[in-house]
Amino acid sequence: MDFVLPFEIVDKCLGSRIWIKAQKQREVVGTLCGFDADLNMVLSDVIEYQYKIDGSIEKTHLDEILLNGGQITFLVPFKNGPDEVLNKQINQSNISNDVNLEIEKEKSNSD
């Protein structure tokens, strides 16, 4: 495992999708166009997610934004937001269900 610098990864992420978790239950997904030492960022083709206390999610589409680095908690580079992660988990659960079904079928056949 190699030692990596945090800004090295952000630099490699230039031009690709990045998922930013910010304060106050806010999440921003966009294509990274530029950043500085304070992690102020220019993002294009942005979706902003605001998680509400009643469990609902407010989605806002924006063409281009300048995000203040002070608001950022952490970054997930090369990820396309919460939808991707949730879909993956659903798919994985489907796969595991399928595998279980197959195992059950084999068992019943052998019986």
Partner: protein, 97 residues
């Protein structure tokens, strides 16, 4: 003067390649393998997962983990860093009954 420059509040190198957990100022909490940091303690975690937050109280985290992968944490929002193994949560001893 040189001594002051050498001083480090935590020696994160000790935890390189080990599982650590990070709590943030806004109540988020993530766990992952430490693979990098810089002098102001921006931190890189590999195979990181986030503890999902309780929707009715965002400062309360649940046991459910959401897998994220590679994560870069911003130093200014980090609250606590601790190794996953060898630490456990105890009840608040100062709470009045």
């Amino acid at each position: 003067m040189s001594r002051r420059n050498d001083f480090k509040s935590i020696d994160l190198k000790r935890y390189f390649g080990k599982k650590i957990e990070i709590k943030f100022l806004d109540g988020r909490q993530i766990v992952g393998t430490l693979t990098g940091f810089d002098k102001v303690f921006n931190i890189v975690l590999e195979e990181a997962s986030e503890y999902s937050q309780d929707p009715s109280n965002f400062f309360q985290v649940t046991d459910k983990l959401v897998y994220l992968g590679l994560v870069v944490c911003k130093s200014s929002s980090i609250c606590v860093i601790f190794p996953s193994e060898g630490t456990e949560e105890i009840a608040n001893p100062f709470e009045k009954k």
